[in-house]
Amino acid sequence: MIGQQAENPRPWPVPTTGPRAPARLLPATLPWAETNWLGIGIVSLMMLLLPWGLTLVDGGNYITHLIITFFVWGIVAQCWNLIMGVSGIYSFGQLALFQVGAFTTGVLSFSVGLSPWLSIWAAPVMAVLSSLVIGLPTLRLRGIYVVLLTLAFHELLRNWITTGPQWISAGGFGLPLVPRLGFEHVLGPQYEKVLYYYTGLVLFGLTTYAIWRILNSPIGLAFTALRDSEDYAVSHGVDPFRFKLFLFAFSAFFTGLAGGFSAHYNGSASTSLFDFGVMINLLVMIVLGGWGTFAGPIVGTAALTFLTELLRAFDLYRILALGIAMAIIAVAAPQGLVPLCGRTFHSLFGVFFEAE
């Protein structure tokens, strides 16, 4: 039934379009009912085979590393977009939550001596707890208050970690020797990156799937309603505080997990990731791809991760170019590149589809 036109049960004609049309479930409400399994299968097969192909190519190891970096930042960008873009909470605390994850598992495995496979699970838990600590005072407020309090949390955490005791900060630079996941012993050191790739792929896939389900569920609808008109949403029984807190904790879970994975993958938890530039990089990923869309942050992260490598030679001008790109997008295409491309594609080639 879903996606099809319902039979008209009334004896009088009922308009099928326009404001007086009867409400019915749009196909987009239940997208998993018409999933393109073939496309997903082909893409996943390619993603599964890709690292083995890359081990054969000269310099493929480095490309694998880039893809793993893309997985990590892709998770964070998607989570941040869920908060910033989809539900309109101007939180700047996402990077701090990422660092909470990284340092939690770093401290547990490096300073306490737990196995990294155990300690990495403490990362998302700790991140969720911290997100509740920020969220409880913050989320009853709006706009500028949220910006300020989350930025303050970021600064406090940076301050506390860089000046903290030896077992946290190791002299202000972060933990230099976080144990890695031990993949070099499984298939030999030359295939170590492949296993990290698979771990990253699983985390990235899980996050993307979870966010996709959330966006296309009644909860996602409630978030969009809260962003677009809070009064209207409240009048329909959405409790803003509860929903926002849930969203905060939800995105903190995956962000913390990404932080933990990144710490074990890089073998360090660095305080330099607190830099404002890292936050701006993440924000540009979201803004460039499409603020509040599902595919936007993924496309933006991919573009930024790989373009940055190509433009390595012009490193000084890179941030300037990012800033200019962000300004142009804010003024000319505030919805980002993905909706823009979609619209352009539709206006150019839409004729061919409407004939159906």
């Binding site: 500028i144 506390w160 003024v331």
Partner: protein, 293 residues
């Protein structure tokens, strides 16, 4: 004990003056067009760097250079307003677009400064050299100049808002933008004036503080954060409240730094901030705007 008290009082008033200059600009923008200007910190640093560049290139007298630098900061504000804010002013998604646009402006300004001047710390010469001692507290003349200029500027701005026609327009817009528009007040030119004034104040803060503190291209971030604290503490959009809040926060910061420990100063203020938002969410002189933006 008395010396420590005097020290805390002096540096508190000094902090408060700078916060007042920074925060009254932020609150002016917030009050009139409900925009959080994230480029404010970058304009502050840009003022200091323009003065530095002019001094090293032209070697004109210091006061002339400082006035030119404040003008330069105002010009940057004008460019931001005309190029980035005016085009999106009437868009429905103005909140997020203006947030991104001003953040983008701050990135562009900071990286341009980094390209031109490099990342080393710089310092400006003071307007007046030397100082005198009261007890063990060294009061530099420059510090007194900063305090005096800030007080005069804040006073002038309050008078401008109360007396002049343009000030009346700004106050009308901040009370009700639609009604002001219907009464024939030119909205966009008023916004431009607000942006220029606020950027000039930020540039002034940068120029004055540049001779007391060292500065780097990224040095505007923390003062902007503190200015945001002050803005919220004073009640968003209330200039009088902001000026009071600036001195209260400045004094509180220095008293905590002197009597508890310097590493507690900023953390303490943020904790205080959280408590205040829970207890009195509209700020000291709040205008009931906790739910705006």
């Amino acid at each position: 004990m008395l010396d420590a008290l005097l020290q805390a009082l002096y540096s508190g008033v000094l902090n408060g003056s700078v916060y007042g200059l920074m925060a009254s600009g932020l609150t002016l923008i917030w009050g009139s067009f409900r925009m959080l200007n994230l480029a404010h910190g970058a304009v502050y640093v840009a003022g200091a760097y323009i003065a530095y560049g002019l001094l090293s290139a032209l070697a004109w007298p210091v006061p002339v250079t400082f006035v030119l630098a404040v003008g330069g900061a105002a010009l940057i504000g004008l460019v931001i307003q005309l190029a980035l804010i005016n085009p999106i002013l009437e868009n429905p998604g103005r909140d997020s677009a203006s947030l991104i646009a001003t953040l983008a402006a701050s990135i562009v300004i900071q990286s341009a400064i980094l390209l031109v001047f490099g990342g080393q710390t710089k310092q400006l010469p003071p307007l007046l050299d030397g100082g005198f001692k009261v007890g063990t507290t060294l009061m530099s003349y420059q510090g007194l100049v900063v305090i005096g200029t800030a007080v005069v500027c804040l006073f002038l701005m309050t008078v401008f808002l109360r007396v002049s026609r343009r000030g009346l327009a700004i106050r009308a817009i901040s009370q009700n933008m639609d009604a002001a528009r219907l009464m024939g007040i030119p909205i966009v030119p008023t916004f431009v004036v607000v942006m220029v004034i606020s950027s000039a104040l930020a540039g002034l803060a940068g120029v004055l503080l540049g001779s007391i503190l060292f500065f780097t291209p990224a040095a505007g971030f923390t003062p902007m954060l503190m200015a945001m604290v002050v803005t919220i503490f004073g009640g968003l959009g209330s200039v009088t409240g902001t000026i009071w809040a600036a001195y209260i926060i400045g004094l509180m910061e220095s008293f905590v730094a002197v009597f508890v420990g310097p590493s507690w100063a900023v953390s303490g203020i943020f904790l205080f901030m959280v408590l205040m938002l829970v207890i009195r969410p509209n700020g000291l002189f709040g205008l009931g705007e906790a739910r705006r933006l």
